[in-house]
């Protein structure tokens, strides 16, 4: 049983400053409000504790950008004497820490690990991933758009390299992995150690209206029913797609905000986020195998709900609800799963 540490909330700025001395620290901070709504995103700690928001459940952008950046230079190609001199870009392996990652996002990072690290490892992703220290924060409540429980994710036990949770006037801190232990050691005798029996914490969090067996508050789980469909082909040819795709505008917001979506395009020497919903995604010299929105819409959801589970054993969705909250036309994966 790993040790648990605790620190009073009023000393949190010190804690963050101390972590930031070791490595760049990113935590949920409110952006500048300028006429629009500035949401909370993981931003670099620079001493401004007033902008830190530990109550918000979802940051607007998911943490995937720290491992799989929106735009990344893979190599430099310089024309020299009629040939191209190609130099791969150095891997980004400077250690950094992410604080306040929620259970859904932590689970999503594991899903991305399954994609980028394995038989064929993406070195760029792996370097960033190895350099990262993920400090998660347990959720004390659920937002209206959250449905992580449908995937067996426990918002009260987020995992990561270090798990933290807020209770009474303390932040509790428990390293979960070697990396977590190493960071904790570096923080020295900064925090008090405390013998906390795990169940105390669980009881507290459970009593905050999160029922781990049904964290989505009574909503029936269309994903478990979907798992029972054995035949991918029948899903593929389902006539439901004809109606489902019609109100989607194929903007790509869901894809870019999704913590598990990982499609990209390599243009010259850059790797950029791309979306399978975009018409150009499968555009090739001979034409486009997904010629209309229906095929592309179907692709996105088949990938998340059928193909990915078949290859990796887990639905490529963590129920964070970002797509629900931000879709311009309120389309979302729950609707698709239900209809299928």
């Amino acid at each position: 049983m790993r040790l648990v540490y605790k620190i009073t909330n009023d000393r949190l700025p010190e804690l963050f400053a101390r972590i930031a001395e070791e490595m760049p620290l990113y935590l949920p901070m409110r952006g500048e409000i300028n006429d629009g709504i500035a949401g909370v995103n993981l931003t670099r700690w620079s001493g401004d504790f007033a902008s830190v928001d530990l109550q918000i459940l979802k940051t607007i952008l998911s943490p995937k950008g720290f491992f799989f950046p929106a735009s990344e230079e893979l190599y430099k190609a310089v024309l020299k004497d009629n040939t191209y001199e190609i130099t791969p870009q150095p891997l980004t392996d400077r250690p950094f820490a992410l604080f306040g990652v929620r259970a859904c996002d932590a689970a999503a990072i594991k899903i991305l690990d399954g994609v980028f690290i394995g038989e064929a490892t993406d070195e760029f992703y792996k370097a960033r991933r190895d350099a990262s220290c993920i400090i998660t924060l347990a959720c004390e409540s659920l937002a209206a758009t959250c449905f992580c429980g449908m995937f067996g994710i426990n918002p009260a036990e987020p995992g990561g390299d270090v798990s933290t949770w807020l209770k009474d006037n303390y932040l509790y801190w428990q390293p979960q992995t070697e990396k977590g232990e190493r960071l904790t050691k570096k923080l020295g005798v900064f925090m008090e150690t405390v013998e906390v029996v795990k169940t105390d914490v669980e009881v507290h969090l459970y009593s905050n209206e999160i029922n781990v067996n049904d964290p989505s508050g009574g909503m029936p789980n269309p994903f478990t029913t979907l798992k029972k469909v054995p035949d991918i082909l029948s899903l593929f040819i389902s006539p439901a797609w004809d109606e489902l795709h019609r109100t989607c505008v194929a903007c790509g917001t869901c894809t870019f905000l999704c913590p598990t979506c990982h499609c990209y395009d390599i243009a010259d020497c850059r790797r950029n986020w791309d979306a399978c919903l975009y018409p150009g995604f499968t555009q090739m010299a001979h034409g486009n195998p997904r010629p209309t929105k229906k095929e592309r819409f179907r692709q996105r959801y088949m990938h998340k709900l059928a193909y990915h589970p078949q290859r990796h054993g887990v639905v490529a969705c963590v129920g964070c609800g970002r797509c629900v909250a931000q879709c311009p036309v309120n389309m979302n994966i729950v609707k698709v799963a239900k209809v299928l």
Partner: protein
């Protein structure tokens, strides 16, 4: 620091005016790079932004005088569009003095040279352009390279 000025000149009036300035041996700054277009209304807003992205520090669009357009109504469109575009760019923080719209006829060689000299001096006073240079991968946040 040498500033770069890009001049979009319509083939029928202002480019001919530039030609006249040349044959008359009138001197104007060599910072000016002329791009010939059939009509000033050919100038798309993207051209102007691309010019800034590729290192221009000032852009001037030259066309025929109102009423004298070779294609009858082209410069009306130019006037409308450039006014809107310059207004929008100024709204977004580009210095208004880096942009100009001028009507120069084929016989106005001197006016061409004078306008170019004046505009170049104006841009020189502002210095090199660093706004909307189109190096869009770099966000303003220097940490953009590390993450989102």
């Amino acid at each position: 620091m040498r500033v770069n000025v890009v001049a979009f000149c319509c083939n029928w009036c202002s480019y001919a005016g530039a030609d006249l300035a040349g044959t008359s041996r009138l001197v104007y700054p060599s910072n000016v790079k002329i791009i010939r277009v059939p009509c000033s209304c050919r100038v798309d807003e993207a051209f102007i932004l691309r010019a800034f992205a590729r290192g221009a520090d000032g852009v001037i669009v030259c066309g025929c005088h109102i009423g004298d357009c070779h294609y009858a109504t082209g410069n009306y469109h130019t006037r409308q569009r450039m006014e809107s575009l310059f207004g929008l760019l100024a709204f977004m923080g580009m210095e208004r003095e880096r942009l100009r719209l001028e009507w120069i006829s084929a016989s106005e060689g001197a006016k061409f040279a004078d306008t170019m000299a004046e505009f170049t001096a104006q841009v020189e006073k502002l210095g090199k352009n660093e706004r909307y240079t189109g190096d869009c991968i770099k966000a303003t946040d220097a940490e953009a390279a590390e993450g989102i």
